[in-house]
Amino acid sequence: MMTAFDAGLGVLLVLAAVRVVATSDVRAAASGFLAYGMILALAWVRLESVDVALTEIAVGSGLTTIVILRAIAHVPSPPSSSTAGAKAAVGLLCACVTLGLSAVILGLPEPASSIAADVAMNMPATGLGNPITGVLMVFRALDTVLETIVVLLALIGVWALVPQERLAGRPATPGTGRSPEPVVFLARALVPIGLVVGAYQVWAGADVPGGKFQGAAVLAAMGLLLMMAGIVKAPAATDVKLRALLLVGPILFLAVGIAGWPLAGSFLGYPPGFEKPVIIVVEIASTISIGLALVMLVLGPPGRASS
C-alpha cells in the first residue's frame, strides 16, 4: 500500500519538476517551484528524514521562492533562442545522466554501509536525544560553524554589490509600500504563534526533530511578516546592532570551539558533562544570527529600485 503512495509521490515530484523547468514563463515556474518544494518535503518524510523535510519546506522551497518571486519584477526576460537541435542534444545528455544515476542507485552494494551504528554508540557522550543535532553540533561541528559563516558571507556578498554610499539606505520591504489591512491582521494573529513555534523548534531540536536552521527560517518568516505589516522597519545594512546580532552566533560558536581546547582536549570539543546546556546556548545564538541573515538575504541589497 505504502509503495503505491511512494510511486504516486515520485511521479508527482517529477511532474512538478517538469512544470518548473519546462514552462516558459518565469513567474509560473516560481509558483510551480513552491508546489515542487512541498512535494519534495513529503518525499523527505517518506524517506524517514523529518528534520530535512522541515528544512526543505521552510528554507528550500519557502524562502527560495520568495527571493526569486521578488526578483522577477526587476529582471527582463530574454527571448528563448535555443534551437530544437540544441534542445534535443541537451535533453539526450540529461536523459543519459538520469539513466546512469538510476543504474547506479539500483546497483548500490547490498550491505548498505552506514555510520548509524557509530552515531548510536557515541550519542550518549553528547547528552542529546536527536541524532541529527548530535551530528550537526558535535560530531561534525566544523561543518555547522562554517555553515553559519557561509550564510553571513552570502549576506556580505549581497551588501558588496551596492556602492559604499548607498549601503546606509534601507532595503525595500516586500509588498507595495503601504501595508494593506489584511497583512496587518495576519501579522498580529500569526506572529505570536510563529515565534512560539520557532522557539519551540530550536529548543526541542536537541531531542526531537527540529533545530536551529528550521527555527531560524520560521523566525525569519515572522520577521518578514512584521516588516510587510509595517510594524517593524527593515534595518539598514550599516546598523551596528544588526551587525552585532549577525555576528553573535558564529563568534559564540567559535568561542565555544576554542574553549573546547583547554576544557575538552580538542578544538570544537564540548566540556564533558555540560554538553547539552552549552549546545543549546550556541543553538539559540546561531538561530538569532541565521534568522536575521535570512531576513536580510530575502530583503536583498539596500536602496534597490522598488517598483
Binding site: 505504502m2 509503495t3 510511486a7 509521490l9 511521479v11 517529477v14 519538476a17 517538469v18 518548473v20 523547468v21 518565469v26 515556474a29 515542487y36 518544494g37 519534495l40 523527505w44 517518506r46 524517506l47 528524514s49 528534520d51 530535512v52 526543505e56 528554507v59 528550500g60 527560495t64 526569486i68 526587476h74 529582471v75 527582463p76 526576460s77 530574454p78 540544441a86 545528455l93 540529461c94 538510476s102 542507485i105 539500483l106 548500490l108 548498505a112 554501509s113 552506514s114 548509524a116 552515531v119 548510536a120 541524532p131 541529527i132 551530528v135 560530531f139 561534525r140 555547522t144 555553515e147 557561509v150 550564510v151 552570502a154 556578498g157 549581497v158 554589490l161 536552521f213 536583498g300 529600485a305
Partner: protein
C-alpha cells in the same frame, strides 16, 4: 524499502531535469530555479543513501540527513546571492543604457 527506491529514481529524474534547465534556460532566474531542482534531486539521492543505511535504532542514517540540511541552507544562500547579482546586473544595465542615451542626447 522499495518505496524509497522509487523516490530515489524520482530524485535521479530531478537531477536530469535540473541539469536540462540549468543548461537550456536563458532567463537567469529560471536557471537559478533549475539549480535548486538539481540540488533537490542530489539531496534526495543522498536521503536514499541514508534510508538504506538505517540501523541501530534509527529509521535513517543521521549523518547524510545532517549534511543535506547544511546543503539546503548553502543552496539557499547561493540562490539569494545569485538573485541579488541578477537584479543588480539588470539595474546596472538600465543605468548604463540611461547614461548612454543621455550622452547621445547631449552629443
Amino acid at each position: 524499502m522499495t518505496g524509497s527506491i522509487i523516490l530515489a529514481l524520482a530524485g535521479a529524474g530531478l537531477v536530469g531535469l535540473g541539469l536540462y534547465g540549468v543548461i537550456m534556460r536563458e532567463n537567469a532566474l529560471h536557471r537559478i530555479l533549475a539549480f535548486n531542482v538539481l540540488g533537490g534531486g542530489i539531496f534526495i539521492v543522498f536521503g536514499f543513501a541514508a534510508r538504506r543505511g538505517a540501523g541501530a535504532g534509527f529509521a535513517a542514517d543521521p549523518v547524510p540527513q545532517a549534511l543535506v540540511i547544511t546543503g539546503i541552507v548553502v543552496a539557499f544562500s547561493a540562490t539569494a546571492l545569485a538573485t541579488a547579482i541578477v537584479v543588480r546586473l539588470a539595474a546596472a544595465r538600465d543605468e548604463e543604457h540611461a547614461d548612454a542615451r543621455s550622452a547621445k542626447d547631449e552629443g
